[in-house]
Point group: C2
Chain length 344, copies 2
Amino acid sequence: MSNKVRNESRTVEDLGEFGFIKSIASGCINRLDGVVYGIGDDCAVIGPFGDRVLLVTTDLLIENVHFILDRIPPEHIGEKSIAVNLSDIAAMGGLPRHTFVSIAVPRLFPARVLNGIYGGIKSACKAYGVNLLGGDTSSSPGGLFINVTAIGETNKDSVMYRRGARVGDRIYVCGTLGGSVAGLKILKGEIPAAPEQWPSLVLMHTRPRALIKEGLTIGSCGMATAMIDISDGLVADLGHVCEESKVGAEVQEDSLPISEDLLSLGKQYHVDVTEYALTGGEDYALLVTVPPESAREFEKLLEQKTGAKPTDIGEITAGSDVKCMTPAGRQRHLETRGFNHFTS
Amino acid sequence: MSNKVRNESRTVEDLGEFGFIKSIASGCINRLDGVVYGIGDDCAVIGPFGDRVLLVTTDLLIENVHFILDRIPPEHIGEKSIAVNLSDIAAMGGLPRHTFVSIAVPRLFPARVLNGIYGGIKSACKAYGVNLLGGDTSSSPGGLFINVTAIGETNKDSVMYRRGARVGDRIYVCGTLGGSVAGLKILKGEIPAAPEQWPSLVLMHTRPRALIKEGLTIGSCGMATAMIDISDGLVADLGHVCEESKVGAEVQEDSLPISEDLLSLGKQYHVDVTEYALTGGEDYALLVTVPPESAREFEKLLEQKTGAKPTDIGEITAGSDVKCMTPAGRQRHLETRGFNHFTS
């Protein structure tokens, strides 16, 4: 970039990621037919095609922003780039079908590493039963960039949005929380623990799993009112649901689904794993709201279809705040802003 | 990247872009239903949904690889990122409907420039009647990266592939050739001409137009046998058609559609504009093959529907070579490799 271009006062950092997204979200629809939902949820929804709709999502993964090349095997980078996109489709209640991968690599990038990344992309596609149907390749003047677009499908009446939560709904989490950020901190040496002694936490970060079966079950059961995947952290993503649904939420921190390994790590290294569970990103768990009268049946169905009970972590409330209550009944002070890629 | 990762002998540059694409193109289909065509053409084709199919394409634009920020207005970068993707949809005979834009920007990038780019993206979407339905944003540790995914649609019997050309077919070009590379060379100072004196050539580079109406007419007319958009250069893209169709081609260089302005530039600065027309990339003209018995009718139809006659530049031949003949009937020496983003 030239000095002429750089020499300006207001930067994208000042703007902030969410501020920027809001500023561009108007005037994006020029032809309404064929659009069910545009910008503002985990996926766009296009169609309908008969009784089906397509879900489309796209995600960037950038070296030294989203991953550090020598701390994570190339295969895992490839797998993760697919899984995080499929998680967005799961969060809308869809079945992922196709992926498209654009990749920019430095000219002297080792072929072995690039092949490893594509090996991971292909093995993830195979594991999830999705196709790799295209993409683009380019040289990069600075670091590795991966952009994945994923397309899924579902019945037009089974799409789950962020906007449907209602006061009194129970808040459920499928999956566990806080493991990914713990794994990242171990890999970065911010917690002085040997990565090989905490494989489950490291893998939560390097090989997240998209909860497809859970998302499909939730979408088709007709009981849930809202869903989102937890990529920015529980508080931030629950905040997105509350904002879109115009409600608040109260979370009981002693109910959070935290793995035994993460609890052990917390004790051993004196770290506040509840904070990890509340604000750590990249868990790719699913957050779901369900009216109280359906709660029992919902738990039973999920356990029956997926083998795991969802965790009831709290309740949707009137207002607009996301409150987190300690076991003593006090409100925990929370940093409620979402993860901001322009400043983090 | 760490030294550990860098310290390897074989790089992506050794592999080459097309070699790499070939190496990954197998094992990409894990579930065949819902896929009409995967990797290997301008778009993937998914569906059918009733009698319709969707066309999906994705393209990367990278600062200092695909554009230089202070030589092209931000609005034009935005417009171009949309147009080049829509051109891929035009090349398959489709109507573009939706776009998704991922963008990675340095933290201290001027908000004004980013807003300009999105202004261009939105005005292009408006001009083409397509929607902007989503995307991703991130900080970038090095330069500006834009990835656009575009989705189009067409009747399932109107899709145009690269693979259908037959011996004896006439080769047509809609649009002109060589202007974009001339504009680029003017902007970069490689031709000592003032950009403001050659606006049509500079605009060919900075504001290419996707030939949607032409593509739709060609797709639906039932006369054409193959189509591609000319993004890598005429010889390279005709080569792709020949390879996929298992044929050769003979182009008459005095038939090439070269604009008056480009001819003037050639005379004034003693540059070989025929070479530009043959190998210069990013013209986003459409190359079409048509059986000789339909040629007249095809020309007439295109002129009637789009206001411009396509240019007959040569003939599909047996064999596999793309030959270019001088007015004296001699074969011109050609560099037949396509544009390689890993080495260029």
